[in-house]
Chain length 337, copies 3
């Protein structure tokens, strides 16, 4: 793929060389994300950060990533503030908002909405989640995290053994991650979910057609032994027509330290796209895992910043100009020692 001036709408756009290119740019951007130095390469550029569905982390993560490259952020944080309520079509909104931005990040509750928006936009659009459909930057940061965590144990994504746990039906992060993993060789995937929340059949068929080694189970203990990564997800309440239906599944698959110790290989990495549901009746990942050094969930969230910076850098074609605008950091970084 030629990233320059392209929409980033689906994980299907990425082949292995695209992923490698993106990850190498992300590696170069780490000193900027960790505040060893700053760059102002995007000074004067404007990100339209358009969230038509509530979000905190994804919205702030994209906005912060753009700021770290020196750009400005203009934002929509709610449907209510939008002209959509006055009967405007998504195409009109796209035409107008793309006149105010150099690049747009968009989240919207309807499947395929971001694609329709992108068709009318005059600037590149990054899909930050359209309903239960796609959320490509999440899959990319997940894969980047898998690679970084595995490399510490001398492993690579080819040959990966991963357990996907929870709401595999509605979790768009899971769907995109499955697709991107299917590009790799010799991947074993344990799909652990209640029967009613099984992965959609079109994804299961894709995985089968690409030769992944798939096992479906409802049993957590069974599924998490003999894997390198456990990827846990939240029951996506907001996608259920009836919230009471969602409640039936909360708490069915809950990982804690004793289950981990009894079943997992050493250094099995625990991931979660976050937010995790920590209410006592859900408790997807117990708080007693907090001290487990293999709990990678916050490193995973941090990786979102470099991955999103890398997406911006490639789409706006500035990755070669970052170093020349580099400057030292003036302020104290982090907490008192």
């Amino acid at each position: 793929m030629d990233f320059r001036g392209s929409h980033i709408l689906s994980i299907d756009q990425f082949d292995r060389s695209d992923i490698e290119k993106l990850f190498s740019v992300a590696d170069k951007l780490e000193p900027y994300a960790s505040k060893e130095k700053i760059t102002r390469v995007l000074e004067g550029a404007i990100l339209g950060n358009m969230f038509f569905e509530p979000s905190t982390r994804t919205r702030i993560s994209f906005g912060a990533s753009f700021n770290l490259l020196g750009g400005n952020v203009r934002e929509i944080t709610e449907v209510g503030s939008s002209s959509l309520a006055k009967g405007e079509s998504l195409a009109d909104t796209a035409q107008v908002l793309s006149g105010y931005s150099d690049i747009i990040v968009m989240r919207h509750p309807e499947n395929d909405s971001v694609q329709r928006f992108a068709e009318a936009s005059r600037v590149p659009v990054i899909n930050a989640g359209d309903g239960s459909n796609e959320h490509p930057s999440q899959a990319l940061l997940d894969l980047y995290t898998i690679q970084k965590e595995l490399s510490q144990n001398g492993k690579s994504i080819d040959g990966l053994r991963i357990a996907l746990v929870g709401d595999l039906k509605y979790g768009r992060a899971v769907h995109s991650l499955c697709k991107i993993l299917s590009l790799h060789d010799n991947v074993t995937m344990n799909l652990i979910s209640p029967k009613e929340l099984r992965i959609p059949s079109e994804i299961a068929e894709l995985l089968a057609s690409r030769g992944l080694n798939i096992k479906e189970t409802e049993n957590l203990e069974d599924g998490i032994s003999e894997v390198d990564i456990i990827y846990v997800t939240r029951v996506q309440e907001e996608r259920f027509k009836d919230k009471n239906d969602a409640n039936k599944y909360r708490g069915l698959l809950s990982l804690n330290q004793s289950i981990y110790t009894a079943n997992c290989e050493p250094n099995t990495v625990i991931m979660h796209p976050l937010p995790r549901d920590s209410r006592s009746d859900a408790n997807e990942l117990d708080s007693d895992l907090y001290e487990n050094p293999n709990l990678a969930i916050f490193r995973q969230a941090d990786n979102g910043v470099v991955i999103r910076m890398a997406i911006f850098a490639l789409v706006l074609d500035i990755e070669e100009k970052i170093e020349e605008t580099s400057r030292p950091v003036n302020w104290k970084v982090g907490l008192k020692d």
Copy 2:
């Protein structure tokens, strides 16, 4: 008018020389709006972008315009987040917020609210819409669009023939546009609306007193023949006491390509302040007009950026300093070829 340090509250403040001054600054700012170069002339300045009524395009447009000049934007996007809910007077809010900003843009649902706010403010205030009263930057960008579109056909605003279509009673954009057009010579104006949504009598009288050639009609086909510009507006549902009343008028005046072809002169320009209501029962401008090169509605929205930049530049008196802070653009602009 001396723009420097002035509030911009009403289109009544503008005479023809003010408009010409503003449009000439807007012309100079076009390379910055279109990202041929950037300026950081307002580095360190803060815009207080205060929207006490939902808006997307106007809020983002003002914010982006300030960013394009190098300034920062602090924002209020809802009444709920405001101290007004705790019984604070508008004058107190103005006193306090003007201590945090170099210039304030304000929208508020009550007529004359922005004027009252400005009286207590210690920095210049730009009216971005107060109820059904004024929205001067909209009228200015409309007029700028008319001038640019006409000039391509070798015409000027003096001698303009324009049809105003839709909710002429509550549409503040229309009211302001009428006033600013009345400063020009030999203007013919066809006012097309349901009887109940006729233009307010005080505006009709102003137009008559200034010698405009006015025709009122309920018939779309009749009104849009023999004009240079058709300016269509939305039924302003939010101004009706009873929404069902608003619904009676939706869809009565709907323009499509076949009506256009049958009735209009060649190159008749179609404008709309947006958002347009594209729901099937309203359909103010049919989607079959999308390919019509005379549909200027998105060029019109784009023109909002340069006009708002020009307002900021004149009020903050930096139009002479823009060139000296000019720099090249680092990133790829727009979509892949």
Copy 3:
């Protein structure tokens, strides 16, 4: 206290030397707050301005202060947009958001929430109000205002005579101000409130133990004679379980010019943490005080900017680097003469 990399959670962290240090930095920052010059020392830094409870002035004041030092601001303005609604713990939110920011300002409706957030954060956290508990920057700007106003009359905080008026039970600004005043010598404090809204006993006991001269009364006229400062507060409706209870106290303690003239010493300064309730049934400070030069409420709000700039400068350890990044202001400051 060593400010560098520290959380600022409670006024209890401050001793007199800390306060003097902060105020001296605030004095140095005044030319930047008043736009005599600009600094970009925090260019590239990101403030996470996290408001989980509605606020206008505090949110905008912190954001503007960070912009004035050259930094960027990412913002949360409502609980609804947060992952807390999906069952995320405050500790998780802190872990994630601190990966996107260099410093966090947080307001939250629950007592001690900001402290719990800070425990999990990887960057310094400034408490901008946690329920009815603490709001340290408000107390600091109040004290800074008292010092500046008194110094014009040749007085200092040692020896201060102050009347605190209104809802002394729920007003967190009052609680923090009491604590900080108790560090000074020979302070006389008249506590004027309805019996049911008396200051909490633990604060009264602290004041007594530190040797302040305390008088409690329900009578406004009695309490405001023979003081240097009258500090009026709003009935904190939002802290009452039943709003009707709050209504009983609205309007009981209302100061106007004739009461002031009849009872107060010359140059008695009037302060209020704002917003003040100006509805006719509350009218804490009558509009006829508007012309009284001793009404310091807007100077007090303005002082919030330099105090918050000083907090950022000390925590991020950049106060020595401000001058070297100093630049002239390009634009016209303020209104037309």
